[in-house]
């Protein structure tokens, strides 16, 4: 078990390193100049050249890469070209904000998606099932920018129930500011999860062990929630882990629309401005998030299905 965990950890680090190296090479081989992006489109070439020399862009790529790796080994992600602040400090501000959003969105996705999926499966072929399937179709089809604008328009502009956007400065304000972006992200995911859980539940409910449980006289709610649902949501764990990892990289459109100062808005600004240290930092966080989320998914698999704990491979 420990050996497997060590191998898994080592391979995860290798994946992160490969991702970072590829990002570094791609960032530096693009036909655009971070010094120009920093100085502005109208800066005179002599001024751009000065900034380029100050930032070390005039040195060979291998030297720049070696310097980056050396800094990384010392926990230093460099300085943002645009914000002129240490990248670690910027990420330390942004990660908790995005984590709040991601965890809340996953919670909405899983709870709403599972509830709708289970109800639809139990009422298969009836109006509730058709309604849930139609809603799920709309939810999955609607892009988040449309869902977000519609929610913003109705709940913040027309009804004035919630703030239009922003991050708030108190806990209460922050909670209120979170509602619409979380719903925007959550509804999309919930629709997807609902379809997934419905199909899995329909499949599981037709299995022999469910018939056996019913034959033993167990309460219907126990049959559904303990016996069927536990098996139906197993594959959902993997999807949830992938979603959590992806959301930690930032929900670009939603964060921009609701002015949520997380990783998504940071990464868009950094990519557009060719702020390579920030881009590298965001990629590092995203890749680590995916790796960690997958690791947690493996652990959760073992807990949810004890049969897997004794198997030679987790998955």
């Amino acid at each position: 078990m420990i050996r497997r965990a060590v191998i898994r950890f080592g391979s995860s680090l290798a994946v992160v390193w490969i991702v970072l190296t590829v990002t570094f090479l791609v960032s530096h081989s693009l036909p655009s100049d971070p010094a120009r992006a920093m100085a502005g489109p109208q800066a005179r070439p002599a001024d751009v050249a000065r900034i380029r020399a100050q930032l070390g862009f005039d040195r060979p790529l291998i030297i720049q890469y070696a310097r980056y790796v050396d800094q990384l080994a010392h926990g230093d992600l460099g300085m943002s070209y645009q914000r002129r602040k240490p990248v670690t400090k910027i990420l330390a501000e942004r990660i908790p904000r995005t984590a709040m959003l991601a965890i809340a969105a996953i919670f909405v996705q899983v709870s709403a998606g599972t509830a709708i999926g289970v109800m639809a499966a139990l009422r298969r072929g009836r109006s509730l099932d058709h309604g849930a399937v139609a809603l799920a179709l709309i939810g999955v089809s609607a892009p988040t920018f449309l869902t977000g604008v519609v929610l913003q328009y109705w709940f913040a502009y027309r009804m004035r129930l919630l703030p239009l956007d922003g991050f708030g400065s108190t806990v209460a304000e922050r909670a209120a500011c979170m509602v619409l972006p979380v719903l925007t992200l959550g509804l999309f995911g919930a629709a997807y999860y609902a379809r997934f859980v419905r199909d899995e539940m329909i499949n599981v409910l037709s299995q022999d062990f469910i018939r056996a449980a019913r034959a033993r006289g167990l309460r219907p709610s126990r049959v559904v929630l303990v016996h069927a649902l536990r098996n139906a949501i197993l594959p959902l764990v993997t999807i949830m882990a992938m979603d959590l990892g992806a959301l930690m990289g930032g929900a670009v459109v939603t964060e921009k629309l609701f002015r949520w100062p997380g990783m998504g808005s940071l990464s868009v600004d950094a990519v557009l401005a060719r702020d390579v240290p920030v881009v590298m930092g965001v990629v590092l966080v995203s890749s680590l998030s995916v790796v960690v989320a997958n690791f947690l998914a493996d652990v959760a698999y073992g807990l949810l299905d004890p049969r897997l704990q004794s198997s030679p491979r987790v998955r």
Partner: protein, 577 residues
């Protein structure tokens, strides 16, 4: 079968949702009262872009400029009529030989930290901005100062050409006459910064920025907001009127409109074209809105070293084939057809100048003269190969390019759009034989017509890499006119010189000059003292509030529309920034 039935339902639902969002404007709740000026109150404004820095040594972009102006007083400013006038300078003059600029400052001006601003602070601040370790994007604007090179190369620890003769007397010595030098003193680089800023650039200064402007920095939440409060010791008596300004960043233009209608913004500058039309056409809002003058010129560059644009007739044909009025209709009002390179919001604009104009028969004739005769009836002839058109992937530039594609097809020129990120666009179009044509533009760095010719049309602006002269246009007469314009101190002679420069660009057509952008500002009825300044956008330093009307209006706007509004009431006690 199932999906074909589902599609109309989904489409109808989406249409209903989107349609529901396009409701008419709410009426302004506040009233305009004719009352004496009041002191007090705070206003909230917003913008789409985030501010990266407010350090006057490095901040040089549209997003930061209005805020830097509030925090840092400048030596000079441009009046509404386009003349230079003193801000910190009580008087100033250029000597007859054009080699010295003498400035006398107001005495007793104080920084936000309470210390007195002297001429030595201006010298220190300018040297801080031009220091070799400072990533200042406009160092070369000051390269005519005596001792500039020695300072930049580290041979001297100060610029010999900047002399603080006394607490209030300042002298700038130039190696050669520079008619644009006064204009560069209206920029932020020579704004005095508090002694705590140090002698060299420190990135953390932005977080506790300290200058001598009408407002001081209270708090800067990165990517969220800047909070400013009145500088009580500001040197202009009684100013500013407001207690403070909160400036929000990263806000979508739609959200700005929503917030404005709710009374949570007091002023909007970045309305979408549709929203600005709605405000303009609503008689209830029309008295509280006005246009800004365009401060940029946009058009099509044509690489004069690459075929077919090495032929003058082809360039002229392109310039004549573009229907500028039609381009303006893409965003009615905000996109204004351009006639001159120098836009109306910049000093030196000549409203009577007759520039390039749409003339399709002439364009066809020019194509014929170039050997590429085209018959619109049959579609035969024209330039045989498609031409790559490089465009930065900014939405309007792409829209405009699609229209140019149609215009140029009418004279037998087929263009293939190559859309890319603007950083990639800068790199690719700045190399000599890479981009035959593309969308280009220039915004005013400072108020002088030379700024619209020197960097983009002079031979000296041609580089093997990162060339800003993307047409790679070289014209001996234009170079001579521009060189003379830089040294010439007589306004009348300079006007004639830059008119000639405009004529050369019109006739030689390294660019098809097409349009300029402008913004429509809207403010709440209770906000007084604002009107768009023709040279400075969003000049909010000296506005004031009808406090009673604002209080009533906010109360009216926050009134609960229904029983669902418990949460809104709870939040309205302290609205999030």
């Amino acid at each position: 079968m199932r999906s074909t039935h589902a599609r109309p339902e989904v489409a109808a639902l989406a249409a209903a949702l989107v349609g529901a969002c396009s409701s008419p404007l709410a009426a302004p709740r506040g009233h305009r009262r004719d009352i004496p000026i009041q002191r007090g109150g705070t206003i909230t404004v917003a913008q789409y872009v985030n501010v990266r820095s407010v350090d006057p040594a490095v901040a040089f972009d549209e997003g930061s400029d209005p805020i830097v102006r509030l925090l840092f007083a400048r030596l000079l400013r441009v009046s509404e009529s386009g003349a230079f006038e003193g801000e910190l300078a009580r008087s100033f003059r250029v000597t007859d030989d054009g080699l010295r600029v003498l400035v006398q400052m107001h005495p007793g001006v104080r920084f936000h930290d309470g210390s007195v601003v002297s001429a030595r602070d201006v010298k220190r601040s300018l040297e801080r901005a031009l220091h070799p370790d400072t990533p200042c994007p406009a160092v070369s604007f000051f390269d005519r100062l005596v001792g500039f090179d020695d300072f930049r190369q580290g041979k001297s620890d100060q610029i010999a050409g900047v002399v603080a003769a006394s607490d209030v007397d300042l002298e700038f010595r130039l190696r050669e006459p520079d008619a644009t030098f006064l204009a560069t003193l209206t920029l932020s680089f020579a704004s005095p910064v508090c002694p705590s800023a140090g002698a060299t650039f420190d990135p953390s200064f932005s977080v506790h920025a300290c200058g001598a402007g009408p407002f001081r920095l209270v708090r800067w939440q990165d990517q969220d907001a800047i909070v400013l409060a009145r500088h009580e010791s500001y040197f202009e008596p009684g100013l500013p009127y407001l207690d403070g300004i909160t400036w929000l960043f990263g806000m979508q233009t739609t959200t700005q409109r929503f917030r404005f209608e709710q009374g949570r913004l007091d002023f909007v500058h970045e309305l979408s074209a549709a929203d600005s039309a709605a405000f303009r056409n609503d008689p209830r809002w029309a008295p509280f809105g006005a246009w800004n003058e365009p401060r940029s010129t946009r058009g099509i560059f044509m690489n004069t070293r690459m075929p077919p644009f090495d032929r003058l007739e082809v360039r002229q044909a392109v310039a004549a084939a573009i229907d500028r009025e039609q381009v303006g209709m893409l965003r009615a009002g905000t996109v204004v057809p351009a006639r001159s390179m120098v836009p109306p919001g910049v000093v030196g604009h000549d409203p009577d100048f007759q520039g390039q104009r749409f003339d399709l028969p002439r364009a066809l004739d020019l194509m014929r003269q170039a050997g590429f005769a085209y018959d619109p009836a049959t579609g035969r002839g024209g330039y045989p190969d498609p031409i790559d058109y490089f465009v930065a992937a900014e939405s309007f530039e792409v829209q405009a390019a699609e229209l140019y594609q149609q215009h140029l097809a009418r004279i037998g020129i087929r263009i293939r759009l190559r859309s890319m990120a603007w950083t990639a666009w800068l790199a690719q179009t700045g190399r000599p034989m890479q981009a035959p044509m593309g969308g280009d533009g220039w915004s005013a760095d400072f108020d002088d017509p030379s700024n619209f010719f020197d960097p983009i049309f002079s031979t000296s602006a041609i580089q093997d890499d990162e060339s800003q002269n993307r047409s790679f246009f070289s014209n001996a007469e234009l170079d001579a006119v521009l060189a003379r314009g830089r040294r010439e101190m007589s306004p009348a002679v300079r006007r004639a010189l830059y008119r000639r420069a405009d004529e050369i660009v019109r006739d030689q057509a390294p660019w098809a000059v097409v349009f300029g952008y402008r913004y429509y500002d809207v403010w709440q009825p209770y906000l007084h003292g604002y009107r768009p300044h023709p040279r400075v956008q969003q000049r909010l330093a000296f506005v004031w509030l009808d406090l009673e009307e604002k209080r009533l209006a906010l109360r009216a706007k926050n009134a609960p529309p229904g029983s669902l509004n418990v949460l809104a009431l709870a939040l309205s006690r302290r609205p999030p920034p």
